[in-house]
């Protein structure tokens, strides 16, 4: 009797949940109910812009992989396959919105104006990031899984204290976006972020890119229920969207951001996508997943499907050729700028440990720089 009750309430046995989709893998434009209104504002120019964004960030990603293989980067975290999820979200943002990324948000970073070279510098080990979060309204990459969801929630609480929510002024109302992945949903910090967001009605959008893999662990290791449902118990409603469909992604992001900015409370988007590449360049997916699944997802590629749609709209071939040429030029530029990065100054280690002078750091800095200088003296003496 008990086991029957458990079975009846086991959501894993229920049918597949609704997923918002507006562009089929073949590139056919379809209706998706209440979200259609938010996609209606997109014209052909916008769609071509999305296409270009996705091709360019995919090229940045490919270059990141190549530079790592050539020893120019210590590591790279590929975004291959997640371009639509990230560009769709990134292009739905307003300038005043603020994003708290993971370490794989190269597409969102692109939309927020962070130069790809800056990301390469991080993975090269020049520093740990170093862009000005306030300049881009895009926070630092966060490597510890899930931590940034609390920062996003706190930031949104601050937005609420500032009264920059629910005013009806599109230039003022501000949404905060907490990026995270399927693996992060198991972290206590994510549950605490949902708790605080719900309790304080914080204007934060939880943006979960479910790419099906947390390094080698499939999503089934993390959760018994679909991840868009994770927020329900915290009072954070969720929606699942086809993360490889940039039109649906944009529309759902637009709708959710609008609701959050209007003060209707936190929301959660599960972008259902797939990590086509390795977790990072240090990973080997052939050890834990079969090629057939990856190939099946390749048939749902976000760029291929948007291209098919654009072609059906009569987009001339020259457009695609031009985008490819622009990608070539971008790749050459970032490659050159990466390889030519100067060795960082050892004093960098000590420069930003504290904002105000700290006696111990100053002492250690002086001692170490003197130590280094002692070698310069001896070299000169030998000459």
């Amino acid at each position: 009797m008990t086991s029957n009750i458990a079975q009846a309430s086991d959501s894993r046995t229920s049918s597949e949940p609704r997923m918002i989709q507006m562009l089929t893998p073949d590139g056919e434009r379809i209706s998706s109910g209440e979200y259609d209104a938010f996609a209606a504002e997109l014209d052909d120019e916008d769609l071509r812009g999305f296409y270009k964004d996705m091709v360019l960030v995919r090229r940045v990603d490919a270059e990141g992989n190549a530079l790592q293989r050539q020893g120019q980067l210590g590591l790279w975290a590929p975004l291959l396959g997640q371009e639509a999820a990230q560009i769709g979200m990134g292009r739905a943002l307003r300038p005043q919105d603020f994003v708290f990324p993971t370490y794989r948000e190269h597409g969102v970073a692109w939309c927020r104006g962070v130069a790809p070279e800056t990301l390469l510098g991080l993975f090269r080990g020049q520093n740990h990031g170093g862009w000005d979060p306030q300049e881009h309204n895009f926070h630092t990459y966060t490597i510890v899984i899930g931590s940034q969801t609390l920062h996003a929630t706190g930031y949104a609480m601050g937005v609420g204290l500032d009264g920059e929510v629910g005013t009806g002024d599109p230039a003022r109302d501000t949404a905060t976006v907490a990026c995270f992945g399927d693996g992060a949903t198991s972290q206590g910090d994510v549950s605490e972020a949902l708790t605080f967001a719900g309790a304080f009605n914080a204007p934060v959008l939880f943006f979960c890119q479910n790419n099906q893999w947390a390094i080698s662990e499939p999503t089934s290791v993390q959760t018994r229920v679909p991840l868009f449902m994770r927020g329900q118990g915290f009072g954070v409603p969720g929606v699942r969207v086809d993360g490889n469909d940039i039109i649906a992604m944009y529309a759902v992001a637009r709708a959710s951001l609008d609701s959050v900015r209007a003060g209707h409370g936190p929301m959660l988007i599960e972008a259902f996508t797939y990590r086509m590449g390795a977790h990072t360049t240090a990973d080997d997916p052939t050890k834990y997943r079969d090629a057939a699944t990856t190939e099946a997802w390749a048939a749902k590629d976000p760029i291929t499907r948007l291209r098919a749609h654009l072609e059906s709209l009569g987009t001339p071939e020259e457009f695609f050729v031009e985008v490819d040429a622009e990608a070539d030029a971008l790749a050459a530029r970032i490659r050159e700028n990466c390889i030519s990065m100067a060795e960082p100054d050892p004093a960098e280690i000590f420069a930003y440990a504290y904002r105000e002078p700290h006696s111990l750091v100053e002492e250690e800095r002086a001692e170490y720089l003197d130590y280094l200088a002692s070698f310069e003296d001896s070299t000169e003496g030998a000459r």
């Binding site: 740990h128 862009w131 105000e356």
Partner: protein
């Protein structure tokens, strides 16, 4: 010049900081209507409202993590951790995020977050209510750690902590919350990161801080009765440590005892001993001795008087350092 209990001096300092800057917000468990379990925030929610004195969900990592986010938005959050050992769920947010974001952003971002931590034993509490985890946090670059021992310092140092653009952990000697003293609200002390020579002496230097300062003052008096002149230093700042003041004293006395409630093993006393030995080797007449907690879990309250350094144990340390 008002006479205040140490806890109420902190309250007064918080009130002053909130009056001076409307970006100062308080967040913690039970800090609103109740005023905190030690009543340090008593009356502040009534006067500044629920938006600036925030009762938080019972989640320490969430409290610190959301405070980081509020600081990024331009606020100056002051966190109350209810008891010392309840801080560990927030350890990750403190050491991997709060302490490092200034560095991660190459100086673009400052995190003016204060974490108030009532710490130390001697109040007869159950487990997890009497620990001294200051060295655990002092080990991490990016944090500043200070601990007042008098109401005057408590009043000023909490304001200095809030003014700091760096994250500050403010360790409050909870068994001395009821210690009363004069607070000069017109003249601040020597700055939060300076140690203070409280009593001058010639034979032995004794370094203490926070809850052990009154005990150490008793040691000075008792030693004087035995004809020993002890120079007492209140460390005040635990990161950075004002080694210059200790060094100057040790070069005069030739002997040093460091005492704290925290375990001796890898405690602040170990670092002080190493640094002072490096700086004052030829002036030392004896090895630096430490008197503190044991490498054991904090005992039940019926045994804590054995664990905590008291007058006799510190005096014993003074006698031993003199016997070399």
């Amino acid at each position: 010049m008002p006479t205040l209990a140490l806890s109420k001096a902190i309250t007064a300092g918080l009130r002053k900081a909130m009056e001076d800057d409307d970006k100062v917000v308080l967040i913690g468990e039970d800090i609103g209507k109740l005023g905190g379990v030690f009543r340090v925030t008593e009356g502040l929610q009534k006067d500044f409202g629920q938006r600036r004195v925030i009762d938080a969900p019972l989640a320490e990592s969430g409290i610190v993590g959301t405070s980081i986010g509020m600081a990024i938005r331009g606020y100056r959050p002051v966190i109350e951790i209810q008891f010392d050992a309840f801080i560990y769920p927030a350890y990750d947010q403190i050491v991997t995020q709060l302490a490092k974001l200034h560095n991660r952003t190459r100086g673009h971002e400052s995190l003016p977050v204060v974490i108030r931590v009532p710490y130390g034993g001697g109040i007869g509490s159950p487990e997890h209510h009497s620990e001294s985890p200051e060295a655990v946090f002092a080990h991490h670059a990016g944090l500043r750690i200070i601990s007042p021992s008098t109401p005057h310092d408590a009043y000023w140092m909490i304001q200095e902590a809030i003014d700091s653009p760096d994250p500050v952990m403010f360790f409050e000697p909870k068994r001395r919350y009821w210690l009363r003293g004069e607070v000069d609200t017109d003249n601040r002390g020597p700055g939060p990161h300076t140690a203070q020579v409280v009593t001058e002496g010639t034979d032995v230097t004794l370094v203490a801080y926070g809850p052990l300062m009154p005990t150490a003052a008793d040691v000075v008096a008792a030693a004087a009765d035995e004809g020993t002149s002890v120079e007492l230093i209140d460390l005040r700042s635990l990161n950075p440590i004002d080694f210059d003041t200790i060094e100057a004293s040790v070069k005069k006395t030739g002997r040093l005892v460091v005492t704290h409630e925290a375990p001796v093993f890898l405690g602040l006393g170990a670092e002080i001993a190493a640094r002072i030995t490096e700086r004052s080797f030829y002036h030392l007449e004896a090895p630096v001795l430490r008197v503190g907690g044991f490498h054991t879990p904090y005992p039940g309250s019926k045994l804590e008087h054995h664990y905590l350094p008291d007058l006799d144990r510190i005096l014993d340390g003074v006698d031993r350092v003199l016997a070399y």
